[in-house]
């Protein structure tokens, strides 16, 4: 508020962008498409970009993306990344439910608690994926999920920053 008053930009006529309500969900879908980057590697190391941004949004504001939106966004993610269809639908909506419960349990929130919650959710998503892959005939060794998990946890602050930047932009602050 104070910083906005000190800014040189015009204080009049500022307000939310058009379609401000849909930008969070659209940004999650856009993050999912990062998996289309033409990176051809021998081993998988990348995080689930859409899930990172979804969790970042949900931790930033509980009302930015309605919880039920996680299901269609997850379906989109599955189709784009080539993951087994239904995996992200399940994992993302379950994550929304868990965060609803966590919001009722936590007495206060700070940056470290949010990071810890995100790390736990990312680990659960990896674990679910490992189980599903094993069921689908690819029982790779468990230790393979550690390095992508660590990369995803370290990437979370970046996505939290992106979510807050998009939030400020869409609300015209």
């Amino acid at each position: 508020m104070v910083r906005a008053a000190l800014g040189t930009g015009a204080a009049l006529g500022r307000g939310p962008r058009r379609l401000a309500r849909y930008w969070p969900a659209a940004s999650v879908a856009a993050a999912s498409t990062l998996a289309l980057l033409p990176i051809v590697t021998g081993l998988g190391w990348g995080p689930d970009f859409g899930f990172l941004l979804l969790v970042a949004w949900r931790l930033l504001r509980s009302d930015a993306i309605p919880s039920w939106c996680a299901a269609p966004l997850g379906l989109f993610n599955d189709l784009v990344t080539g993951a087994p269809i239904g995996l992200s639908v399940t994992a993302w909506t379950a994550a929304m439910l868990l965060l609803d419960l966590a919001a009722r349990r936590t007495m206060w929130r700070d940056y470290w608690i949010e990071w810890l919650l995100a790390a736990l959710l990312l680990f659960m998503a990896q674990l679910l994926r490992w189980h599903v892959d094993a069921l689908m005939g690819a029982p790779y060794e468990f230790h393979l999920i550690w390095s992508p998990w660590i990369i995803a946890v370290l990437a979370f602050p970046l996505f939290a920053f992106a979510a807050s930047a998009i939030d400020r932009w869409r609300l015209g602050r």
Partner: protein, 294 residues
Amino acid sequence: MAPPTGARPGWSRRAQYGLFFGFLAVIAGVLIGLFLLGLSIFAPSAYAGVRGVALDVTAPVSSSLRAVTTTADGLFSGAGNYWDAARQNGELKAQEKVLRRQIIQARAILNENMQLKAALQLRERTPEAVASGRIVGSSFESQRRFAVISVGGGDGVAVGMPVRAAEGLVGRVIDSGATASRVLLVSDRSNIVPTRLLRGGQPVIATGRGDGTIDLRPLEVGKNPFRRGDIVVTSGTGGLYPPGVPVARVVRLDDDGAIALPMADPGDVSFAIVQHPFEQAALEQAEEPAAETR
């Protein structure tokens, strides 16, 4: 502290119902997700059409971006080649002399081989290429190893067809759209390739490990037959992969097998060639396991 008894948004009935139905919608989302997931685990062929369309829509994006990265790559490696060019030139000339001698030898052997085969009246079909395309992307955000190639059903590609590059075996097609297809790489954990040791011809089972390497186990238990630098080639058993395609090179031995690196690194090969299955009958059979291991 015990959580509050419920999330009440206030006295407004409308807001309370909104919250409640939102909660129901999330539960429904989880159930639908579990249903879809169960379907993709137990009946993966149900999604063949949807996944094909998704591939057709997304592959052009990767494809156009890929062109940019290859150009940038080419600029850097091109500049790198000028560096130290004189020494490289000398080395290449020496190599060329050796290779020329080897080519003459190989030609003589090929001639002899053809004569011997003619004498035995062995008929061999050379597996013809269905289509060739670029590798435009890979599943770099997952532990499953898939690559996307820029040819699809419109070019004659079908699920179950083997894919190779000039360097060696790449994998087999598991999803195919009209203009793009997804390939299960040989380094994926669910891809099992019957191979044999190039030196000695001992049958070997090659299984991907999911981390870019391949696990090699000899079919006959006994002394570890591998040495570092050994190459395994497809044996043609099972009828899917044509025999004699290089698969992997041994880099490390363990107690009864070896760890190998694929000969065709999907990040380096420029063109992937889709072929007919070695025995046509294998295509129908291959569709079932390919579908199961999706």
